[in-house]
């Protein structure tokens, strides 16, 4: 049985309990009014009321068919005891009887529609209620008819409510299922979206570089250059957001860095954009060697990132404003030498990790099967050799 049917049963059980208990309480109140019934009847009736109340509480918790049976027997027992011992019930006793049979017991109809035995019990319970009540009022046929009718209406009403709720559940289940299907599609879309955003690594790397500059309040960079850089990044992010894959823009004008690459993009155009980016931040990059190298996009990504990282180190630490990048390639590898004539450093003195070299440069290149080496000495500049396979 599926979860919603269980929840529905629980709902009906709980409703039956509240319904039954509240009218049982009202009935007990009428029953216990001084003078409503003789003392011996009261003495017999009270335990039966307690049993009925306990059975109704249990109906709210358990799905066993025996609790409704016990409730029915104890409820009808109250009527029978009153009828036998009293003869013609007083008006208040009549009302007590009606509250029990037409509402307190009728509430059981809520839990008696889900299977054939239960429906049988429902019919039996309703008829027994009518018969017992009519028999109790037999001295006045008009009253017997009225009370019997009221009991029938009470059970009918409870059954109607049950049928109505049962009819509402499949409707709502169907609608929930369609919401679920829509949600599954949404989840897949969001998964794709996340992949797309995470896949735009190059874009995010340049965005992160810009954010990091801003985090240092943009000190050390010309405001104009930083603004231009920010505008460029914002434009790329907007493209990403609007769903159009950021395209290779004309390299000379905007200096866009490609994010979603065609199969084998041209290295030269993207190198140009890296150059422009650093140009804006005050580092002149001079290119030498091959400009037209084809690389798979993931390799290109890693290569450019490593390159940009090296240039960033030059910009920050070398003390000069010019760097040279020499690109060479053979059948298997593409290599880049990044050199500057800056202050240099003693490799042994400086922890590579501190420069972010191991993680951001070597790590990235190794992911795609490449490598990087660092050469430097105090006063004689720094050289970094990067290499990646041609795919």
């Amino acid at each position: 049985m599926d979860l919603i049917s269980k929840e529905r049963d629980r709902l009906l059980q709980r409703s039956a309990r509240v319904y039954g208990l509240s009218f049982t309480a009202v009935s007990a109140l009428c029953f216990a009014l001084p003078g409503a019934v003789p003392f011996p009847v009261l003495l017999l009736g009270i335990p039966l009321y307690l049993i009925l109340a306990a059975a109704l509480v249990a109906v709210g918790l358990s799905r066993s068919i025996w609790w409704p049976v016990i409730a029915l027997l104890s409820g009808l027992g109250i009527v029978v005891v009153t009828a036998i011992l009293v003869g013609t019930p007083s008006p208040s006793a009549s009302l007590a009887i009606l509250h029990i049979t037409a509402a307190g017991l009728a509430s059981l109809a809520l839990v008696l529609t889900s299977s054939v035995p239960r429906i049988v019990l429902l019919v039996v319970g309703a008829l027994a209620g009518v018969v017992v009540v009519a028999a109790a009022e037999i001295d006045s046929p008009a009253q017997a008819l009225r009370s019997g009718g009221t009991v029938l209406v009470g059970w009918g009403l409870a059954a109607l409510v049950t049928v109505w709720i049962n009819a509402g559940v499949p409707q709502v289940a169907k609608r929930i299922a369609s919401i679920g299907r829509a949600h599954r599609a949404e989840r897949q879309a969001s998964e794709l979206e996340a992949q797309r955003r995470q896949g735009a690594r190059l874009l995010h790397d340049t965005v992160l570089a810009s954010l990091t500059l801003l985090a240092h309040s943009g000190v050390g960079v010309k405001p104009e250059a930083l603004r231009q850089q920010a505008a460029e990044d914002a434009r790329l992010l907007r493209q990403l957001r609007l769903g159009t894959a950021p395209q290779l823009a004309e390299p000379t004008e905007t200096g866009t860095i490609p994010v979603v690459n065609p199969e084998e993009p041209v290295l030269g155009t993207t190198l140009e954009s890296v150059k422009q980016r650093f140009g804006r931040m005050g580092l002149t990059v001079a290119w030498h060697g091959t400009g037209q190298v084809l690389l798979p996009s993931d390799v290109l990504d890693a290569f450019l990132m490593a390159l940009a990282e090296c240039l960033e180190n030059v910009r920050r630490h070398s003390g000069v404003t010019e760097a040279h990048v020499t690109i060479t390639d053979d059948d298997k590898m593409v290599r880049a030498l990044v050199t500057d004539a800056g202050v240099g450093f003693n490799i042994d003195d400086i922890d590579e990790a501190k420069l972010g070299f191991a993680e951001s440069v070597v790590g990235r290149l190794r992911e795609v099967g490449g490598n990087a080496r660092l050469f430097s000495a105090p006063g004689s500049g720094t050289t970094v050799a990067l290499e990646v396979p041609r795919g």
Binding site: M1, L3, I4, K6, E7, R10, L11, R14, S15, V18, S22, V26, C30, L33, P91, L95, H99, L157, V161, W164, I165, A167, G168, V169, Q171, V172, A173, I176, I179, G180, H183, R184, R187, S190, E191, E193, R197, Q198, H204, V207, L208, S210, L211, T212, L214, A215, H216, S217, G218, V219, P223, L226, R227, Q228, A230, A231, A234, L237, L240, R241
Partner: protein
């Protein structure tokens, strides 16, 4: 610095990597709730319109019964026209409310609700005036008693508190007029008292029972919706970022875009103020975290954190992210078992049972090499499900079916907690 110059960046409570800022549980839950709130306006009304229609029918039947009773007493009334006026007002209010509820849909506007209550009050007053001299309000009132039942019409259109408060006010008013109108020795007469009690119960209890049914129905819809939404994780890839993370990444991207745009458009002056600079730094950190490590969580983690109900009661321990290896059938089994074991968790709607909260902990792994006989290219992942608050004999039979779909299992009971050890055979990721 002007206020508009400050860059706004809303702090996330949780960065969806499981790295949580502040109180983990609360943060995860509030994120999940924020996520689910989008649909909740729609949720609350799912299916209740149909129940509301049923309530209208019940009220209609009750009104017809009241009218017949009224007609049969015409001769008895000292002021029959006041009672007639009461019925006319009541009928107008009811028809108006029914028509408006069909037109306005999910919710009756406040002013209309006020008008409805005012109409009921007038009908009540007129009816009481009509029978005041009979000194037996409970025995002769008709429209005044039907007014209580009439509240049922709105049971699907207004909050439970409002309906219950209206019913309570009506009950108090009824008791008050009965007392004021009572003959001197009436309270010694059991028959008279029983009639009054019956009248009060007959008008006050139906709206209360109606509220109980509607509230339970809404709860059922919530639980089912929660379950169905989370069910979509069953077909998720081995590692997924989850709906929250994807949303979060989009949000961070947008925040970065706005910040960079503000700089580019010169809305934010350079160099940045320390405050804005720290916003940029924070954004960069968040973004970096999301980009690097966003994909370590499994479908099960997302299912639990996105679900209001599972999130409250299930703790997951899956250090090696082995849950991702389960196939869709096994995932469905595990999720179904979890649902069935926690389904009775007390909710806001039912806080009384907070004492017996059911909790569930799911421990996945570690894989013990060479344990048991495993087919080639498969590995056995041990899963331990420990549940508290459910006696062994009250565990739903569906739980065992569901667990059977995950793999072979054995169960044991200890100190009122149920422990199920499952051996789940999955494809060996090394062979893929």
């Amino acid at each position: 610095m002007s206020k508009s110059d400050t860059i706004q960046f809303s702090q996330p409570e949780e960065n969806t990597l499981g790295v949580v800022v502040g109180n983990a549980r609360r943060a995860v839950q509030s994120t999940a709730r924020r996520f689910s709130r989008a649909a909740s306006a729609h949720r609350a009304s799912l299916g209740t319109a149909f129940l509301g229609l049923g309530a209208v029918i019940v009220v209609g039947l009750r009104a017809v019964y009241g009218l017949i009773w009224f007609a049969s007493q015409w001769e008895v009334y000292p002021e029959p026209f006041a009672a007639l006026a009461a019925w006319i007002v009541l009928a107008a209010v009811l028809i108006g409310a029914i028509v408006m509820s069909r037109v306005s849909g999910d919710r009756l506007p406040d002013w209309m609700f006020g008008l409805f209550l005012a109409g009921l009050a007038i009908a009540f007053a007129l009816d009481v005036i009509a029978i005041w001299q009979l000194h037996d309000i409970g025995g002769h009132a008709t429209a005044a008693l039907t007014a209580g039942m009439a509240l049922l019409v709105l049971v699907a259109l207004r909050g439970r508190v409002e309906i219950l408060a209206a019913a309570a006010v009506l009950g108090v008013a009824l008791i008050a007029v009965i007392f004021l109108d009572a003959p001197v020795d009436a309270f010694a007469d059991a028959d008279w008292v029983a009639t009054q009690v019956t009248a009060i119960a007959g008008s006050v209890l139906p709206p209360i029972i109606g509220v109980v049914i509607i509230e339970s129905f809404r709860r059922m819809v919530q639980v089912e919706l929660d379950r169905v939404l989370v069910q979509s994780t069953v077909s998720a890839p081995r590692f997924a970022v989850g709906m929250l993370a994807s949303e979060e990444l989009a949000r961070l991207d947008l925040a970065a875009e706005e910040l960079l745009d503000a700089v580019a458009q010169q809305k934010t002056k350079l160099p940045l103020t320390p405050k804005n600079a720290s916003v940029a730094a924070q954004l960069a950190t968040e973004l970096r975290l999301h980009l690097i490590e966003g994909r370590r969580e499994t479908w099960l983690y997302h299912a639990i954190s996105e679900s209001e109900q599972l999130g409250k009661s299930v703790t997951l321990s899956d250090k090696s992210s082995l849950a991702g290896l389960l196939d869709p059938t096994q995932r469905d089994g595990l999720l179904s078992a979890a649902w069935l074991l926690v389904a009775d968790v007390p909710s806001a709607a039912n806080p009384r049972r907070r004492g017996t909260a059911r909790t569930l902990s799911i421990q996945i792994g570690p894989v013990v090499p060479g344990a048991g006989t495993v087919p080639a290219h498969k590995i056995a992942v041990p899963i331990t499900v420990t549940s508290t608050g459910v006696p062994r004999n009250r565990v739903d039979s569906g739980v065992w079916d569901a667990i059977g779909r995950i793999g072979r299992y054995s169960d044991s009971t200890q100190d009122a907690s149920l422990r199920v050890d499952i051996e789940c055979i999955v494809d060996n990721p090394a062979d893929q």
